[in-house]
């Protein structure tokens, strides 16, 4: 067996990472829709000849490991028919091992001396792929047929010749063809960048050398992963989390994690999770796996390469036909929220094994309001992923203004929204007294309030955690649930359900106000240093009344009064055991 040069390995790992990052930058800069360019809901990867990821430009962690199943599917389908100059397109969770219909894969084989040597792969969340609601994330779809255009893997270009028919069909089936076709081109630009840079690498090192170290990179990632797991306490850890459920009268949807840590391997079994539901929150298994990987990566200290080798140390299983391993015809347009919950549930299980490496529960991913309609003679769709608040940890208070661990997405500037859409944002900021009390306090909720300025249109919402609040850890109290209220210009108010299965008609002057869930506390709130509570009051993060009831701290002239606080806390402790 050939000896491995650790320097060469690190050099090539860096080179692969550089290519994946270059692709991601290319895609982001060239992209057209806010969800790609601002939310960065896309991923890019350089894959080896087997379609295994060598490096992933991770912008959305929940895409980690999302290429392999799709690539296996593609390579099987086109076996013997993959040619230089081909470009593949696909999106279907069932016919192309994809994630959900808005996630369109654009994939290009890389050839050297007429031999396939690698793959340039991209996946991006598109602004619209048709279906029953603008944005194509209908919670109310009952089967995938209603969710938009379904693409098996097809050749968008065959040996360099573009299939104009696919472009035309795609353009016809989406509400905003400029954005969708523009973003497909941005994905192709990223693939071109990948091909160019990878061929330069081949020119420098040769195909054999690259192949050898590509294989070794997988082994290296596996070794790092195993070393981490070996240090975790062996055991079986269970955690049950929920989605509140669909529509106006929600039935809870169970996410069950059964985490087995044995030596240097981890098995995660999701048996006990709910059966798939007639609403768009079902996730195909590849996405569930990616979510599990994200949670595990987050408690590991090493810089593990984002390559396929890491997946070898983790086995993820879930019964078919469940909400975490859905089968045709389950709709999955809004499956992101289930992925977030899988990550949260994983953290719930991991908190038992590694209490210092996780936070208490946070807002549970993004809230996604979607506005649509016609304005000045043109259709518009505005959908944004609104984040984020975290639970507290052993080391500090919950953070506000940060993304969920599963998706590192940016907000859209208020001024940009107002300049581009018939919307006015009336408020965007932190809401006092909302974080779950604890020795460390959960992050507060924040509010985003939208006034609709077109004549008429619709609003819909994807959110969660109203019935099942963000859970605290080690005596920390839960966070708050969300509040989503539609105030009519004509008078009257409506409260939107967390997962609205039907869009709400709105008119000019109607105001939609969404207060996010907040983060939960960590540790007993009666152990929070009184001076920290006083500081929170000074900063307007909590009120004096909340200092009293939530933390047992009495303030006099803005400072914590230690003697009355002591007495108050003693009384509160006594009341607990009474």
């Amino acid at each position: 067996m050939r000896e491995i040069d650790p320097v060469r390995l690190e050099v090539l790992k860096n080179a692969f990472d550089t290519i994946a990052d270059e692709m991601a930058l290319m895609l982001m800069r060239a992209a057209h829709s806010p969800i790609v360019r601002d939310s960065m809901d896309f991923s890019t990867a350089l894959c080896d000849t087997q379609g295994q990821t060598l490096a992933q430009g991770v912008t959305t962690p929940m895409h980690l490991g999302s290429f392999y199943d799709a690539m296996k599917h593609l390579m099987k389908k086109f076996e013997g028919r993959i040619r230089e100059g081909d470009i593949f397109i696909g999106n279907d969770p069932y016919a192309a091992a994809g994630q959900h219909l808005p996630d369109i894969y654009i994939v290009e084989p890389i050839f050297h001396e007429h031999k396939l040597i690698a793959w340039a792969t991209t996946v991006a969340h598109h602004a619209d792929v048709g279906g029953i609601v603008p944005g194509s994330n209908a919670l109310g779809a009952t089967e995938i047929i209603q969710e938009g255009i379904r693409l098996p893997f097809l050749k968008l270009a065959d040996a360099g010749v573009h299939d104009e028919g696919i472009w035309e069909i795609l353009g016809l089936n989406v509400r905003v063809p400029d954005l969708v076709l523009g973003d497909v081109k941005a994905q192709m630009a990223a693939c071109t960048a990948c091909r160019r840079s990878f061929l330069e690498l081949i020119a420098r090192y040769g195909t054999d050398e690259i192949q050898f170290y590509a294989d070794e990179l997988h082994n290296y990632a596996e070794r790092l992963g195993r070393a981490e797991i070996a240090e975790m306490p062996d055991g079986v850890y269970h955690f049950t989390d929920h989605l509140d459920g669909l529509g106006e009268d929600p039935e809870p949807i169970v996410i069950q994690i059964n985490l087995h840590i044995t030596g240097d391997t981890i098995t995660v079994d999701l048996t006990g999770s709910s059966l798939q539901v007639p609403g768009g929150v079902n996730t195909p298994l590849p996405f569930t796996k990616a979510s599990v990987y994200t949670a595990l990566r987050s408690v590991m200290k090493s810089e593990i390469p984002n390559c396929h080798g890491f997946e070898r140390v983790v086995t993820v299983t879930a019964p078919k036909g469940t909400v975490v391993n859905s089968v045709y015809p389950a709709p999955c347009g809004a499956r992101g929220i289930t992925g977030y919950r899988v990550i949260d549930a994983m953290f719930g299980a991991l908190a038992q094994a590694l209490p210092e490496r996780v936070t208490a529960d946070g807002m549970g991913g993004s809230s996604v309001p979607t506005f649509g309609g016609w304005h000045e003679g043109k259709p518009f769709v505005f959908s944004e992923t609104v984040m984020g608040t975290w639970g507290a940890s052993d080391s500090h208070d919950g953070q506000v203004g940060v993304p969920h661990m599963g998706a590192n997405q940016a907000n859209v500037p208020v001024e940009m929204i107002e300049a581009s859409y018939p919307l006015r944002i009336r408020e965007y900021g932190i809401v006092a007294d909302t974080g779950g009390p604890g020795r460390h306090r959960g992050g507060n909720s924040f509010v985003r309030e939208y006034e609709f300025t077109a004549e008429e249109g619709i609003v819909s919402l994807r959110s969660d955690k109203k019935d099942f609040l963000p859970h605290g850890l080690f005596g920390g109290l839960p966070g708050n649930g969300p509040v989503s209220v539609l105030t009519r210009a004509a008078g009257g108010q409506e409260v939107l359900p967390v997962l609205a299965t039907k869009p709400y008609r709105i008119r000019k002057g109607d105001v939609f106000r969404h207060v996010s869930p907040s983060g939960a506390g960590y540790g007993d709130p009666l152990e929070r240093p009184p001076e920290d509570v006083a500081a929170d009051v000074r900063e307007g993060l909590i009120t004096p009344a909340h200092a009293l009831t939530g933390f047992g701290v009495e303030l006099i002239d803005g400072a914590a009064d230690l003697s009355s606080t002591k007495a108050l806390r003693a009384g509160m402790r006594a009341a607990r055991t009474a």
Binding site: P6, L9, E10, N14, A15, T18, E22, L25, M26, R29, A30, A31, H32, P34, M40, V58, T59, P61, D178, G182, M188, A189, T192, R196, L199, E200, A203, Y220, R223, L224, R297, V299, M300, S302, E303, R357, V358, G388, S393, S395, H396, Q399, G401, P403, M405, N408, A410, N411, P413, V414, E415, M416, E418, A419, E427, G429, I430, E539, G540, L541
Partner: protein, 705 residues
Amino acid sequence: MSTQDSKVRVAADIGGTFTDIALIRQDGRVATRKVPSTPDDYGRGVVDGVHQILAAEKLTPADVGEVLHACTVATNAILEAKGARTALLTTKGFRDVLDMRRIRVPRLYQPLYKKPPVLVPRRLRLEITERMDWRGEVLTELDEASVTAAIDLLVDEKIEAVAVCLLHSYANPAHERRIGEMLKERLPGVFVSLSVDVLPEIREYERTSTTAINSYVGPPVRNYLESLVARLTSDGLPQRLFMMHSAGGIVDARTVMRRPAQIVECGPAAGVLSARHVGHLAGYEDIISFDMGGTTAKASLIEAGELHRTDDYEVGGGISLSSKLAKGGGYALKLPVIDISEVGAGGGSIVWIDRAGALKVGPHSAGAMPGPACYDAGGTEATVTDANVVLGFVNSTALAGGSLKIDGRLSYKAVEEKVANPLGLSVEDAAYGIHELATTVMTRAVKSVTTYRGRDPRDFTLFAFGGNGGIHAVTLASALGVGKVVVPPGAGVFSALGLLYADVETSAAGACLRRLDTVPLDQVEAQFAGLEAQVAAELSQPAEKIAMTRFADFRYASQAFELMLPFGSDAAATDVAELHRRFEAEHERLYGYRLPGSGVEIVTLRVTGRLMGEESVRAKHGVPASDAGVTRNVYFSARYGRVETPVVGRGALGAAPRQGPLIIEEYEGTTVVPPDCTAALDADGNIVITLPAPAGVRTERHEYA
């Protein structure tokens, strides 16, 4: 840019450890000096250094025509959280814009991440009742009572600085201006910045953050500059002080006091400017400037003689890799800076092995204390410098012309124990591996300003400077396919020299946000004229003495990232169809495609003004001829093994290329010339190293042309 004949010009660049002083005479003769920085009062070190260099050159303060300066006062105020006690006034409903940021975090998979603290505490972020829309139309009139109430609170809080940033103020500054007047009246000594003066551009977080930074660093920068000017004056030195700003121009210190946030990145900018200047004189217009010091390496691009600038920048976020994907680790500062990419690989970077047996370099650094193992100051970790000592690239007994004694045996021991033994490599292979790996990390910095932006590094010449630039330059060039490396004289005080070469230059920008096909050109012209007047005022010069250049940022209507392109310099030369064509050509060059039929928008108008009529200085460095016939045993990779290598001074080289291997040792650093390269000295004293033609085939180089 000499203003008074027969006088010398002196430049001072403050670094963490040393303050570099450079002096140039009318005939171009240059003198340089390094003096210790004085962190308790940086101005003292500057003035002492100036006196020292004058004494050494037998000159008096009266001989000095100008003092040019780059300092770290603004940066340090942010990094050390020692800025002014600052308040923010903003539109009702948006008090927490600085807290919510852009959400994104710089590192994935870190549940225990803690975001940087907001520069303005929440209780000092106050809301004003008023509202504009994006067209600048007033939706809610300014409620002056709400301003008065806010000011009352600020008086009680003993505020030192105020930032004012209202929603959509870039489209209509009226409300901000009125608040500015009210603040001036009630809080006369307080430093006030309005966002319309600092950054009149769309995107509220970036504009608020930039304005807040400006206010936060304002008082410390003002105090520093006022005290420095007072000191210069009392010592008989010129009281007119010029400062470098982050975009690479110099402006009067009084201008800096109004917009101090513009000097945050001035030190590194001066180095790039120096590379452009020296390169231009030697006939190089396409340059990668490469600055490698003790803790980081920096790269920047000069194309057709032009610097690359960006405003997509964060301060205080640690290492700033240009084009970095995940931002959010620092504070957004959206003022023009030279686009410099930085990676955590310098001479002091610590080498380590991770738990799966991979070799890693940095980002932790042994710093100046204890420094690399060979400094014998208690450092036991192997560093990049230690590897270079083992290889023989670096002298194993002393650095800096003999002034810093080192012990090469300690380097050998550190590399052996920390790297070679655990990995089962020979000490030489381990050291070469470290050298190569450090180079790989630096490659990333170069790529992020070249290939990531659609540029091929092979079309450029690498200019290496900084204490370690010459040691890694050829390995780096080779990895990138670059054919030529230039190591200029004075490479260790290169930024200070850059101050002497800079033009008096500043810029202004304004929001436009219109469709290109329907934009009223007379309005654009009027807006450009306003920006030019602003630039002329900042330079305190009549417009006819200033060369104005116009630019505009364009994008497809649905995009969020703009491309900056030159705009016709007068209204008659402005052709919408031509602008459209140029935008699409640049878009295709970068991204490989166009979108015919899609609308193009102008987002921002920009004007840069440069003071005309000054000739370029051609610096003359003394180059001691020295070839003592010394040789050293140097390891140039497994391919060559150990080679007995001549160690010479710069002056030993001549116009005729000399075949490597060679080591060129100078006070300011070492230059390594491998066996397969040649080195020559050009008329300006630059070492020019030519690499062998790469074996690899150039692939698809002109794909986008």
